[in-house]
């Protein structure tokens, strides 16, 4: 087990390195805005541009710059560890802003995850148990809807109906929990549900599929033959087996969302990492982009590692090879 985790961690590190490397390539080989000109103001002299380049290490060869960037991330900078660096645009340390926004994204992702897990698993079980009946058809119709409806359209429609027309919910934006718990909840409700719908649909399909598959397995028949009640068979044996793939998928999905749910944050105007990175791409704020990419890569890799370990614990058939 220990060796397995160590090997997986090395893989995580490799993936993050490669992801950052390619991000670096993209934004340095074809930068949207020359940071030196961005920084040098509206009447730049050649000398000043040269100075700025030097100050940010932009005059260094490509690999050297990449090395400096890695050093900053892993060894920290003057603002602490890990080194988030300094924004080209606001000229201030990224750290505080980044952590604030990561917290918003985390609230969005975790809340949505709870919603979709509950919805997905319940719908999946219902439709597997009622296979072929109307409950099944409604559930799978819902799943198809969730898979097909674009988040940005769902979000706008939901806002139009529940905010503009029915006045049930407040508008968009972020209210901290510490400021006003009920407003916090009401502001997050739509983003959670809209974001969760898509995932709930996938999870419902998956749970249904693997439950149905497990019903046909030998050990399920054995359990039935032992005289266990149908309820017990389903919940104790079938569900456990069919939840294992959910666990491993959940890890990756949550990890991906922690790196920023760009569209949902844009529609609902949440100051998370997703909106941060879109703005930074537009303004050419490369240090911010790199920070978010590293964070997102790490989040995916680590969460899927955790999920794999859990998976292994849930399903003894898996060998660490």
């Amino acid at each position: 087990m220990g060796r397995y985790i160590a090997r997986r961690l090395l893989w995580v590190l490799l993936v993050v390195l490669l992801v950052t490397f390619f991000t670096f390539v993209i934004f340095f080989v074809i930068p949207p805005v020359d940071p030196a000109i961005l920084f040098a103001g509206r009447a730049p002299s050649e000398r000043l541009i040269a100075q700025v380049r030097e100050a940010f290490g932009l005059d260094q060869p490509f690999l050297m710059q990449y090395g400096l960037f890695l050093k900053r991330i892993f060894l920290g900078d003057e603002y602490g560890w890990p080194g988030f660096g300094m924004s080209f645009v606001t000229r201030s340390p990224i750290r505080e802003q980044f952590l604030d926004r990561a917290f918003v994204t985390m609230q969005l992702a975790v809340g949505a995850a709870v919603v979709w897990l509950v919805m997905g698993v319940l719908i999946g079980i219902t439709s597997a148990l009622k296979r072929g009946q109307w409950q099944d058809r409604v559930s799978m119709g819902f799943a198809l809807f969730g898979v097909s409806a674009p988040v940005f359209w769902l979000g706008l429609m939901a806002l139009y109906i529940f905010w503009e027309k029915l006045h049930w919910l407040p508008g968009t934006g972020y209210v901290p929990l510490s400021e006003d718990p009920s407003q916090w909840f009401l502001h997050f409700l739509l983003p959670w549900v809209v974001l969760a719908l898509l995932f709930a649909a996938f999870y419902a399909r998956m749970v249904r599929g693997s439950l149905l598959e497990s019903f046909g397995q030998d050990w399920m028949r054995t359990a039935r033959a032992k005289g266990l009640s149908e309820r017990k068979v389903v919940f104790k044996h079938g569900l456990r087996a069919s939840l294992t793939p959910v666990v491993s998928m959940f890890g990756v999905d949550l990890g991906t969302l922690l790196g920023g749910a760009i569209i949902t944050e844009t529609v609902f105007n949440l100051p998370g990492l997703g909106t941060y990175v879109v703005r930074s791409v537009q303004s050419g704020d490369i240090p911010v982009i790199m920070d978010v990419v590293v964070f997102a890569g790490l989040a995916v890799a680590l969460m899927s590692l955790v999920a794999d370990i859990l998976y292994a614990m849930l399903d003894p058939r898996v060998r660490y090879s």
């Binding site: 961005l38 730049p44 002299s45 000043l48 100050a55 505080e96």
Partner: protein, 618 residues
């Protein structure tokens, strides 16, 4: 000579009043009469203040920052009455006891400082002439990126951009703590406007000197009635201590600006007509969703907005059509022209007939509609806005019915062009298709884009639009040789034509990057060679600019006729622009607001003139 110069100066100032009065009768003012209560918090949201320098007063260049500094944080030798209309473009002594004493040769300006003006915490010490001198010395350092240092460069004797902080500047003398003397290299009546710019506000060397890389923004020590919340928590004993104790918690350019009263500000040194300072606290929070912001204002959850543009069209419609809300829609004139820039060196706009035809075909009324309709401004017909020049929309060299463009007239003009190869009034040479047009990636430019594209298509010019975020960089980089851009606008830096036509079309100011003469008027062969570009010589108005500047020295109206003639010549002979809009600045205020004013100089809410009734706030 002395009398002459001073007389011209005084007349210039009074004339600015008259001229501005012509164009700004619609500026709304809620009079801050004696009855306004003090106290409370004025709550605002912004969709993103476009900082040009992270809040560093030396480098901040755009209107919102000018408003924040001149109202709240930074007092300058002279300043403006922070109000709407003509009065808001009028200078008034601020740090200085009076207007400067100008020497007989017109080259030396002497200011005497008022007593009892202090820097706020953590310094809490008297402001001296050395602090003003330091602002100029700091401005001269390249790494500070003082965005409008060029106004002073070469004008003040010995002030040139350099790598390190100069010990002194030959043209700035501080014989004692209360006196500062400027020696100019040439007669420049507009110098008085230059000492009202925020970059010239006093900066304490013991703090600002620690941040020579343009990062003073988050350590700004206030000289005005308010300061960033948490400024008093800075430890100014050394640069290291400053960095360790900072940055100021109340200012995060990407998040919020919170202002509280500066305990060291003495209202007796100020004029309530300049700064009234009713409220105890001003909050500006970032919220990129303007719909949300204006909804909160309507509901009384906010008192105002600091928006980068006007409220969205649905909000304007709502406030204009609902009698209960009408009083809460505020507007002010913006001394600015929005225009489409035409590059004199890029085909097909290198032909004056094409440029004229493009002016004639442009559906300016359609553009205005896309900007939000009549409430948003008036159709621009020439370069300088009426409030600045006194020349109104009645001068329209390309007048068309209803300003919708005139196909017949445009085609007549087109027929004169070589790009119309068969003389049918349509641009049909290969150069006429796929012309790159730069636009902003945001509204209202996006909404207006279809109108511009459709108008040009009527005379055979098909464009390929590039919507880009760094749109100015695109058209400011000469190597790009962008033929046409609809992203451009120019607002006065200070209320004088020398910061408008006198600045924008000076061929000698053309440079490879950060160029402002987008149309490349007056590009010489030598310049083209030096810039390494193949395109060549364009008509020049350099001589006209010099002539107007000379006339301005003695002319009672600051050479206004001359500048206006230059405007006309540009529009008729050179045609570098399609001017389309002289905008109004619009915003809404919350129900709790009891006093509000527009700041003409910076084109935003006069932050120092607002008041609220906390009992009406939600």
């Amino acid at each position: 000579m002395r009398k002459n110069t001073l007389g011209a100066l005084a007349l210039l100032l009074s004339f600015a009043l008259v001229v501005a009065a012509c164009g700004d009768d619609d500026a709304t003012t809620t009079t801050a009469a004696g009855g306004v209560a003090t106290g409370g918090t004025f709550r605002m949201e912004t969709d993103g203040i476009a900082y040009t320098s992270g809040g560093d007063p030396s480098g901040e260049y755009l209107g919102i920052s000018f408003g924040i500094f001149t109202n709240l944080l930074a007092r300058t030798l002279l300043t403006y009455y922070h109000t709407g209309g003509a009065e808001g473009n009028t200078l008034v002594p601020d740090l200085a006891e009076d207007f400067p004493v100008v020497s007989e040769d017109g080259l030396t300006y002497t200011f005497t400082l008022k007593d009892g003006i202090m820097f706020g915490p953590p310094l809490s010490r008297e402001i001296t002439s050395h602090d003003i001198e330091f602002a100029f010395r700091r401005m001269a350092v390249e790494s500070v990126v003082a965005q409008y240092e060029f106004y002073y460069d070469g004008l003040i004797n010995g002030l040139v951009l350099q790598e390190t902080l100069p010990d002194s500047i030959a043209g700035i003398e501080t014989p004692d703590d209360k006196t500062i003397i400027f020696n100019l290299t040439r007669i420049s009546p507009d110098f008085v406007y230059l000492v009202a710019m925020p970059a010239t506000a006093p900066q304490p060397e013991e703090v600002a000197g620690c941040f020579m890389d343009a990062t003073y923004g988050r350590y700004v020590i206030s000289s005005g009635p308010y300061m960033y919340e948490g400024t008093d928590e800075l430890d100014a004993s050394s640069c290291e201590a400053l960095t360790a104790s900072g940055p100021i918690s109340g200012f995060d350019p990407a998040n919020h600006s919170y202002f509280v009263r500066n305990p060291d500000y003495d209202a007796a040194t100020d004029d309530p007509e300049v700064r009234a300072n009713h409220v105890d606290r001003i909050e500006i929070d970032l919220n990129t969703n303007i719909q949300d912001t204006f909804a909160k204002i309507k509901a009384g959850e906010l008192d105002g907005a600091v928006s980068s543009g006007n409220p969205p069209a649905d909000v304007l419609q709502d406030y204009s059509t609902d009698p209960a809300l009408q009083d809460r829609l505020k507007s002010g004139g913006d001394d600015r022209t929005w225009y489409i820039t035409l590059n004199l060196t890029a085909a097909p706009f290198d032909d004056v007939h094409i440029r004229r035809a493009a002016n004639l075909i442009m559906d300016k009324a359609g553009i205005l509609q896309a900007w939000g309709g009549d409430i948003s401004g008036i159709v621009a017909t020439h370069i300088q806005p009426p409030a600045l020049s006194g020349l109104g929309a009645d001068y329209d060299p390309y007048a068309t019915e209803g300003s919708r463009g005139d196909l017949a007239a445009a085609q007549e003009e087109m027929k004169l062009s070589a790009y119309d190869t068969d003389g049918d009034g349509m641009c049909d040479a290969p150069e006429c298709s796929g012309v790159i047009l730069i636009n902003r990636a945001s509204g209202p430019w996006i909404e207006a884009e279809a109108v511009v594209v459709a108008s040009l298509a009527k005379i055979g010019i098909t464009v390929e639009v590039r919507e880009v975020t760094d749109h100015y960089t695109q058209i400011q980089t000469i190597a790009n040789n962008i033929p046409i851009g609809m992203n451009a606008g120019w607002g006065k830096d200070f209320p004088d034509s020398s910061s408008f036509v006198g600045f924008l079309f000076d061929g000698r100011g053309i440079k490879a990057e950060g160029n402002y003469n987008y149309s490349l008027v007056g590009l010489t062969e030598a310049q083209a060679a030096a810039l390494g570009v193949e395109f060549g010589v364009t008509p020049s108005v350099d001589a006209d600019i010099d002539e107007c500047k000379t006339i301005a020295l003695t002319d009672e109206q600051g050479g206004l006729d001359c500048w206006n003639n230059l405007d006309k010549r540009l529009m008729e002979e050179i045609v570098p622009w399609i001017p389309y809009l002289w905008p109004n600045i619009l915003t809404t205020i919350g129900p709790a607001v009891t006093a509000w004013d527009f700041d003409q100089f910076s084109g935003v809410t006069a932050f120092s003139k607002v008041a609220v009734d906390p009992s009406l706030q939600n």
